[in-house]
């Protein structure tokens, strides 16, 4: 039994290799993140720049991505919208996942009344339809970017909490967590070092899914006029405001939809590759 272990050739340190789909996903995410940062400054026109009378113009050398329903340059609109869509969705979903995860860990690791309290509060939140909850929050506090982030976080936290708690309850029943308890480890150590590493795979997958939901929620809000306020627009509202262009075959409606699609696909590909690390041996 020991001979295999002592054999030097048997000892290998596998390097995590990125699959092709993972690399593509990473590239797309990196590209959009870059656009979110520098997009507004490289945009050829201002966000509300009224640059011509040509409504729903096709792609041309002058307007790379055509013009929208008011004749504004679509490329500029997309680049200006990138920080809203990517920033708000990322920030919102990160907040949702972080809080959901932390609460789930607290609930699962402590059990008892704390678990009951947190779970029931989350159940109450989950019972309210997302859109409705978001509308109420925005109606009550007015629309601003920070508020949209908080709204997205509040709407999606109960879902991530549910999933994380189910995972955490399974993990904390494992012998290695029991063993850490019997060793006398503190709750914080157990949560952070024993439980979390065995949970982040599905939690990341959930993150990818929720990211897409958040983009959709934001566009829904913008459509109702409660999201990003004009002349600024996120990609979701770009689709909605140019929807009449569909019958004209205008790129103005297709391009922002494509942007959303590539972003969400990229995020999901990247997360699949990140969380499905190769160094796993027999556990598969």
């Amino acid at each position: 039994m020991n001979s295999a272990a002592m054999n030097p050739t048997a000892r290998r340190k596998p390097r995590p290799r990125l699959s092709i789909s993972g690399a593509i996903g990473m590239a797309i995410v990196a590209f959009w993140l870059l656009m979110a940062l520098i997009g507004p400054s490289i945009a050829p026109h201002g966000v509300g720049g009224q640059i011509g009378d040509d409504v729903f113009a096709p792609m041309s050398a002058q307007y790379w991505l055509g013009t929208d329903y008011l004749g504004r340059d679509m490329l500029s609109r997309i680049l200006h919208g990138a920080p809203y869509t990517i920033g708000v969705a990322f920030a919102g979903v990160t907040l949702a996942c972080t809080f959901g995860l932390v609460l789930a860990l607290c609930a699962a690791a402590n059990g008892g009344w704390l678990d009951h309290l947190i779970s029931r509060v989350m159940d109450t939140l989950i019972a309210i339809p997302n859109k409705l909850l978001a509308l109420i929050i925005v109606a009550a506090f007015g629309s601003s970017v920070p508020l949209l982030i908080v709204t997205a976080a509040v709407c999606y936290m109960p879902g991530t909490f549910r999933i994380s708690r189910a995972l955490a309850v399974n993990v904390q029943a494992m012998d290695y967590v029991q063993s850490a308890r019997a060793r006398g480890e503190g709750m914080f150590y157990i949560m952070l070092y024993e439980m979390l590493p065995n949970m982040y795979r599905p939690v990341l997958a959930d993150f990818g899914l929720r990211f897409v939901f958040t983009v959709l929620l934001l566009s829904g809000m913008s459509f109702l006029g409660l999201g990003v306020q004009p002349p600024h627009a996120d990609w979701g509202s770009l689709v909605r405001e140019n929807i009449i262009g569909l019958s004209l075959g205008a790129p103005a409606v297709i391009v922002p939809a494509l942007a959303i699609a590539t972003l969400t696909i990229g995020v999901n590909l990247a997360i699949d590759a990140l969380s499905g690390g190769k160094r796993r041996g027999s556990e598969g």
Binding site: N2, M174, Y176, Q178
Partner: protein
């Protein structure tokens, strides 16, 4: 005599992670005559189940039947297509799986499932099939054979389910029955009943069978011939008595050596305990699950347990599943709070739960879990797993910690190269060593071992026990050794505690391990462990009475003997009326029983002779 099964040059390959085909069975040749029972024996990964499944023309996902021929009852199994295979499976060849509980559909009645293969192959009518099933139930000694088929799988015990599965396999009178570790998951006392039923039915019907097992002692009772496998190769094959008495291959010899009880020369304890406090003392411990609700008492799992563990001693706790042995260890470790009673470490009272204990107390009592697969965090490297207790209890950092990790690995005889691996990259035996090394890292006074060898192969388990005995000498630690296997415990413990349904029914000292008097339950346990001799099963049949002395139905009284329902020595009017007293025995042990010591010695004395012969 005609050959029912002829296998020649069978090769099975599996695809590994890199997508390469690696052989897992190399060119296996054997044949089985009609009415013969052939055993395939080997450790996990030896290819025994793979070969057994190949007899049905089946390869598990990722595996491929790569070559050779398999002829079963005139069918060339490897050249048949799926529909041809479906026609012989369950009709010509039947399979009895290891876990009957996982093989029955919980939502269908047992009878429907037992007669199913007869219905599929249309060999008889439903009424005939049911009549035949009832016959089989009767031969398999199932209780209430006429009506048991109307129950659902969860309404019968594990041993009964295993026998029902045998009925399911035999309903079509197959030419070949494959039994894949059918008793491995059962308690010894249940195993013996199941083995007896299998043997009887195989003899009555003259069935041809393949018996797959890792346990030579069980195989010795069942098989006419044995094939010894290792790493997918047949190492030796021969008549059962030849393999047992004159093994030719060194591997067979090592297998036999791992089973034969080896007397270890463990030094006797110095009688220091008299003036000092014992290392651990458990006084009047009660524990229960659930809370009292509407006058219904909670489920009691520990009932008045008293236990002493002197410094440097090994105390074995044995009992079947559900006897409360693991709960006892968990309670001592503080993972579960007792409802009554106290636990003293060095004479000082321990807090009932984890919260009230100090880090020093945690350090002194370490718990080793049964299953190293789940006890080691799959995302932590070995260096981190061993390093954490060093840092946590001893404040070691950096180079000092690394040096100590290497020392620990050396102590459990693992190479230093494993430090940056993950547990998933080690073998089962290596993982169990790491599990043990983690407990040792704390430099504890007491290690609670919960079935540490149960999940391991015989040879690997024996090596772990050897290691533990050595470490005990070197480091002067005490062990509380929990096991369901009395053989394991007998050889390494100074004292054995036998538990039944939460009661400590017996305690005995090392030098009186295999001599009567026993508590009736311990006696049942001891005489149920298969012995490595042919004919043991028949012999033991006469020794443990199958019918129990009748009892006048008594109102269930609190405190009466928990073993009453299964006890062959119960006395009507005494055992069902009064709580049993704890008697001190001449051999230094104690039992919880009404029967007098001399009576028990007289009744149980045949065992004495039998056990002497083995040694």
């Amino acid at each position: 005599m005609s050959e029912i099964v002829k296998v020649s040059g069978l090769r099975v390959t599996a695809r590994n992670e890199m997508g390469e085909e690696v052989p897992i069975v190399h060119s296996a040749d054997f044949s089985i005559k009609k009415g013969e029972v052939l055993a395939l024996i080997g450790e996990s990964g030896s290819g025994k189940t793979t070969i057994a499944l190949a007899l049905m023309g089946y390869a598990r996902a990722g595996c491929r039947l790569a070559g050779g021929t398999v002829n079963v009852a005139g069918h060339e199994v490897l050249s048949m297509n799926d529909s041809q295979l479906a026609a012989i499976r369950g009709k010509k060849v039947a399979y009895i799986a290891q876990s009957a509980a996982a093989s029955f559909n919980p939502s269908k009645r047992l009878m429907d499932q037992v007669v199913e293969s007869a219905m599929i192959h249309k060999v008889m009518s439903r009424i005939e099939a049911e009549a035949k099933a009832v016959d089989l139930f009767r031969s398999l000694a199932l209780p209430d054979p006429d009506n048991i088929g109307q129950r659902y799988p969860h309404q019968v015990s594990g041993g009964q389910l295993q026998r029902l599965m045998a009925a399911m396999a035999l309903i079509t009178d197959p030419d070949l029955v494959i039994l894949d570790e059918p008793t491995t998951a059962l308690d010894v006392t249940t195993q013996i009943e199941v083995l007896r039923a299998f043997k009887k039915v195989v003899q009555e019907r003259g069935s041809t069978a393949v018996y797959v097992s890792h346990d030579l002692a069980v195989v010795a009772q069942m098989a006419d011939r044995i094939v010894v496998l290792r790493d997918g190769e047949i190492r030796e094959s021969g008549e059962t008595h030849q393999i047992l008495n004159a093994p030719a291959h060194p591997y067979t010899k090592s297998l036999l050596a791992a089973i034969a009880p080896k007397q270890r020369s463990v030094p006797g304890l110095e009688v220091r305990a008299a003036q000092e406090h014992p290392l651990l003392e458990v006084r009047g411990l009660y524990a229960s699950y659930g809370v009292t609700k509407g006058g219904k008492p909670p489920k009691i799992v520990l009932d008045d347990i008293n236990l002493l563990i002197p410094r440097g001693a090994t105390v074995g706790v044995i009992g079947e599943s559900g006897s409360g042995k693991t709960t006892l260890a968990r309670t001592i470790a503080g993972m579960m709070a007792p409802s009554e009673g106290e636990i003293l470490l060095d004479g000082k009272r321990l807090a009932p739960t984890l919260e009230g204990r100090t880090r020093e107390q945690f350090r002194r009592i370490q718990f080793v879990f049964q299953n190293a697969d789940t006890a080691l965090n799959p995302h932590h490297s070995i260096a981190r797993i061993l390093g954490r207790p060093l840092e946590f209890y001893h404040g070691m950092k950096g180079a000092a910690r690394h040096k100590r990790v290497l020392q620990l690995l050396d102590l459990v005889k693992l190479p230093a190269t494993v430090t940056d691996r993950l547990p998933g990259e080690l073998s089962g035996g290596q993982k169990q060593r790491i599990n043990l090394a983690r407990a040792l890292a704390a430099q504890p006074d007491l290690i609670l071992c919960d079935e540490v060898t149960s999940a391991l192969d015989t040879v690997v388990g024996a090596a772990i026990l050897e290691l533990m005995a050595e470490l005990r000498k070197e480091l002067n630690v005490s062990y509380m050794f929990i096991s369901h296997d009395i053989n394991t415990v007998r050889n390494i413990c100074d004292e054995i505690v036998v538990m039944y349904a939460g009661h400590k029914v017996e305690a005995r000292k090392r030098d009186a391990m295999s001599l009567p008097p026993f508590h009736p339950y311990s006696h049942l346990l001891v005489s149920s462990v298969p012995s490595l001799r042919q004919g043991w099963l028949e012999e033991v049949g006469g020794r443990t009475p199958s019918s129990l002395p009748p009892l006048v139905a008594a109102e269930p009284l609190r405190g009466i003997c928990s073993f009453l329902g299964r006890c062959a020595l119960r006395v009507d009017g005494v055992c069902n009326r009064l709580p049993p007293p704890r008697q001190m025995l001449d051999n230094g042990g104690s039992i919880l029983c009404h029967r007098a010591e001399s009576e028990l010695r007289h009744i149980q004395s045949p065992l004495h002779l039998v056990e002497e012969n083995v040694a």
